[in-house]
Amino acid sequence: MKRSLKINDEIKNSVIKYIAAFLAVIVIGSMLILLQGENPFNAFREIYKGALGTKISFGSSLRYAMPCILVGIAASIAFKAGIFNMGVEGQLYFGALVAAVVGYSYKFPPIIHIFLCLLAAGLAGLMYAFFPAILKLFFNVSELITTLMLNFMAKLLTEYITMWWIGHGVSNLGSNAIATPKIYDSAVLPNLIKGTSASYGIIIAVLIALVVAIFYKYTIKGYELKQVGENLKFAKIGGVNAKSSFVSIFLLSGFIAGISGGVEVLGSYFRFTAQFASNMGWDGIMIAFIANKNPIAIVLVSFLWGALKAGSLNMERLTSLNKLTVNILLMLFVLFVSVDYKVLFKEIQSIFKKGSVGG
């Protein structure tokens, strides 16, 4: 009885927290928009229209939510186990490149082709995560910094490979874009809703999130991995092999990050373009934290994230505002959500008490 009450309290607290953060973001965001000389109602209406207003805009919300779910899951798996995998972005880049290469250079029957592309993308991400994992395991090199550096390197290396190995030093898409050829139709993820940019990738992403949720909740291995993150000593005494858990989590995180790159290529871009995804890795980490590393919550937060992205594009088109305004709103949301409201409430209470004593 007492326990259920406590859980209810926690849920109540976190709901209050999210609502408070949301309201604060709306208020501060409105002020920001006013400062830029635009009507906040107009701006929010355009965001809403661009995100959910029509079938097409709903589709593009789904399209932007798709990679967010996967990078969020990739980040949450690592952070749950106490691994600072900042390298989601790098793993995503290699996944995307390999998916594109498999997509345009071989011909397979449709569904098998998609499966092979995604598998190759996942393996590429896994390989790219393998390196920092080994460095940490054998030489105790902080994965935080190696993965960060590998992110920068991944962007440059994939650009190098596309330009010099695939494009032979010249770009085939005009002067600016460094890109691979288009993938075969058999590798393209079909549209989920006709006439929109939403593809079956969103289904794949949600399925992966579900599998991860079930894995953590109902399997022994999942329980062990969770223990490693929560209390390493306890896990070791309980007979968990911390080293092999560490490597398998790191690789799994890289695998899913790679798939997210693959899904982006197969579902949205149809080719690998150099520097195509800016900040996806950071998005993933922020989503994972907002959702408190819960796979189902990650799906929900990702939909919000995708809707805001789609909405921000519409807002930029129809008002004088820059789409980066939405990035500031997202930053504020993260800042407000991560605050411990108990401290804040206590402070507010003490101010009121002081006020009443003084008055």
Binding site: N140, M153, Y160, M331, V334, D340, V343
Partner: protein, 306 residues
């Protein structure tokens, strides 16, 4: 091949190293203090980018480079206070706050660039006054050294002074001792009567000021312009220097110099028609190599002990 080797030790490369290293050294020395005080902060990119923008604005408004730097530093302190309030006071997760601030700083500076200067992407103006180069006449006679060290702006020379002062403060003063104590064992430090929060705040402010100064170097070192996401990963190199140097200002400074050297090589080696993308990975690659060498060394030491 021998051309390339000669180019690698040419004075131009070293002059480039000195130029590129300055913000890295200053930022890294600042980061050493928060690192040693046990604050987990990776918002270097946010601090430096914010400061770079406000330094540009300050220089544009006041017409002096020092004014620009001061305004940049003030903006950076504001960012530091936001971080400190959220992390120290409201118990938010330092990592996620850092990431959100890095994420937001890009958007904030780009939007400000648009609304203040009405420029998209980049803003160049003659009214942005850079620091003047200082000519040291006594170096004129020395051929190699004069190209490397002469005719630089004041911040370049200042960065080495800051590095040594940082070292002295960290290792030769009570303040430094307490900072290190707070980082190594907060509970013990607190029992010994050290005010944890005070040391966390002071080190955070030191870092804000120094990363602010480092950020202001970037637009005011002669280019007199601000571009979107101008720091482009320099903050993360600072962080790497701090972590590799384990919070020792001189070590971190030397590591920063090494990263700057690999970056400077890039500019020289592009003239040999080597792929630019591969060359630009060099500083990041250097970070990993240094970490690996460090790791192997420690690994061997541990093996010997056991």
């Amino acid at each position: 091949m021998s051309d390339i080797l000669l180019a690698m030790i040419s004075p131009i490369v070293f002059a480039g190293t000195i130029r590129i290293a300055t913000p890295l050294i200053i930022g890294a020395v600042g980061g050493c203090f928060t690192n040693r005080a046990g604050t987990f902060i990776i918002a270097y990119e946010c601090f430096m980018l914010t400061s770079a923008f406000f330094a540009t604005w300050g220089s544009y408004m006041t017409g002096s480079a020092i004014g620009g730097s001061l305004i940049g530093i003030i903006a950076c302190i504001v960012m530091g206070i936001i971080f400190g309030m959220l992390v120290f006071h409201y118990k938010a997760d330092a990592l996620i706050i850092s990431i959100a601030l890095n994420f937001g700083a890009w958007a904030i500076t780009t939007l400000l660039l648009q609304s203040i200067f009405g420029a998209r992407g980049a803003f160049i103006s003659e009214k942005i006054i850079s620091y003047d180069q200082i000519h040291l006449p006594f170096l004129d006679g020395l051929p190699f050294i004069t190209t490397v060290f002469n005719d630089k702006i004041i911040l370049v020379y200042l960065s080495y002074v800051i590095m040594f002062i940082g070292y002295i403060v960290m290792y030769k003063t009570t303040f430094g001792l307490r900072v290190r104590g707070v980082g190594i064992n907060p509970t013990a430090a607190e029992t010994a009567g050290v005010n944890l929060l005070k040391y966390k705040w002071v080190t955070l402010l030191i870092m804000s000021v120094l990363t602010g100064l480092a950020g202001s170097y970037i637009p005011l070192s002669g280019v007199s312009m601000f571009t979107e996401n101008m720091t482009s990963g320099r903050g993360f190199l600072c962080l790497a220097a701090v972590l590799v140097g384990q919070g020792n200002p001189i070590k971190a400074g030397l590591i920063a110099l090494l990263f700057a050297y690999t970056d400077a090589l890039f500019l020289t080696l592009t003239s040999f028609e080597l792929p630019t993308q591969l060359l630009s990975t060099m500083p990041y690659f250097a970070v990993i190599i240094v970490l690996l060498v460090n790791g192997i060394k420690e690994h061997k030491m541990l093996a010997r002990v056991s």
